[in-house]
Structure formats: C-alpha cells, structure tokens
Amino acid sequence: MPRSLRQAPEINAGSMADIAFLLLIFFLVTTTISEDKGVLVKLPPWSNEPPPELRLNERNVYSVLVNAQNQLLVRKTPMDISRLRDDAKDFIMNPTGRPDMAENPKKAIISLKNDRGTEYKTYIEVYNELKAAYNELREEEARKRHNKSFEFLTKDQQRAIRSSIPLVISEAEPTDLANE
C-alpha cells in the first residue's frame, strides 16, 4: 500500500489547546478563591489571677451590655443597634464637651459584656459597629490633619492617628443568666 509507505500520520496538536482550555475553565469555575476576611481581634493574655481592679472614671467608660435576647443596654439605657455607631462616635470625641462623656479619645474605653446566650451574629454586629465608629473617627481625623484618606497616609501618620484615637475594647466575662 502506498499509504503505509509514507511517514506515520501526526496527531493533530491543535485540539490540545482546546482540551487544556476546557480543563482550565473547569478549574476556574469550580474553585472559588475563598475570600478569607473577617473581624480581627486581639485577645488579652490569659492569667490565672483575677484582673486587677481598675478604678476608671465612669465618664470615660462606654459600657455596652448585650443580653440573651440580643438587646443592647448602652450606658444604662436601652438602645437600638442602628444608633450604636453614631452614639459611640459622639461619646469618644465628645465634641460638645459634656461632663458625662469621654474626657478625650485617648481615655475613652469601651466595655463590652454579653451573655452566654447572646447570639454570635449580634455580638459580631456590635463589635463591628464599635470598630466602625473608630475607623470613621480615624478617617475624619486623617482628613482634618492631612486632607487625605486614612489608607493613603504614610505608616507614621497612620500610627500617629491610631495612637491619638486608640481602639480599646475591653471584654468582660459574659454573664450566665439565660439558657444557651
């Protein structure tokens, strides 16, 4: 046969690209690049001794209590979570110089206490609102000082603002009043 005398037929490599494309698209679709994001917190180190009693001026403490029904008690008054951010901002900066609010942002402390029956979702929401309040204040401060957004400042400038408005959230041991 004259055909077999010719050189062996080559496999067409052109379709190889299509196969590889198919695989590529399969991987692109199936694997979700898991966006791992979350609220970063730093826990206090563990010690067996009870924490020392700190006498804090009551005006500097912004106490937030969350009960097992996911209701908020902020500075002894019930509050809706939607108002928490603005109220916290007001408290920290104290623009009107009220005697029952923080002396200055450096002295402000947020005390967060929840119940063992509080829902995690509420806890995160509260934590998020408080963190957002601080982030917004820092952003405002950055605009005022440097006329730039906080994220575009240099490391030193960020540090300066961060230390002038430090985020202090103290978490107390939760109460155990309700069934989990």
Partner: protein, 156 residues
Amino acid sequence: MSMFAKKRGKAKPEVSTASLPDIIFMLLFFFMVVTKLRDSELKVNVNTPSASELTKLEKKSLVNYIFIGTPTKKYQAIYGTSPRIQLGDKFAEAEEIPKFVEEHRLTVSEKERPAVISSLKVDGKTTMGIITDVKTQLRKANQLKVNYSTKPSVMK
C-alpha cells in the same frame, strides 16, 4: 542546501500553534496551585454573619481554622443538634484547642509563629457560651490573634 530550498518552495509559513497548549497548561497549573481546595470536610453548618470592618487574612499557611456550628444532617444522629466545635476534620471539645493550635504552630517556621492567626468560622445563630469557652482556651494556648470570619456586607 536542499533543505532550505525545500522550505522556500512551500506555501507561506504559518504561525505555529504547537506551543499554545503549553501556554494554556501553564495557566492551568497556575490556577491549580493557587486555588486551594478545601482540605477538611465541613461537618458543621457554618453561615457566617456579615460585617463591614474587615481584615484580610494574608498567608493561608499561618491560619488555623476553628469551625463552630450545628452538626450537618449526616452527623446529627451521633452528635445531636446543639453547636459543636470542629477542629481539622473532626469534632472536638474546647479543651482540645490548645493541642490543636500547638500542632499547627509546629508546622510554621519559628520566625513566623507570632503571626499565626486563628480564624473562627462560626455560625451566626450560635450562642456566645461556646465561643467564650473557645476564646478562653485560645487565650490559655497564648493564641491571641483571632479573626472572626465574616462575609463582607454592603456599606451603609
């Protein structure tokens, strides 16, 4: 010389597509390496709440994951329906967390150990009791950097 003469005699040269598969394969391998498949099967239902003030977890190798939620249907017969902790690919008690964290730390080079973060993937409906226990154990294990894993929420 006859070799060149032969070539010139053919039709105009085409661009070779033979290397195209190699290029595509390279892309394919890139994606296969970069995207990490979930290595542990989720045995608990985790529907994380959403938040806006987020920090991104940079290095995956420096993160250990703790899942908390109600067991999935398959495991409810054995483990019940109350929230449970999952470490790695098995159910665990809060007391096992220090060991788990320590084991993960050993896989990280000494220089990077202070940067190890625990990522808590917790279902939104879980109550704080079990989370407080976990936090206490993390503090005992001196694992103080914690990331509450959340979904991004739409800015208000």
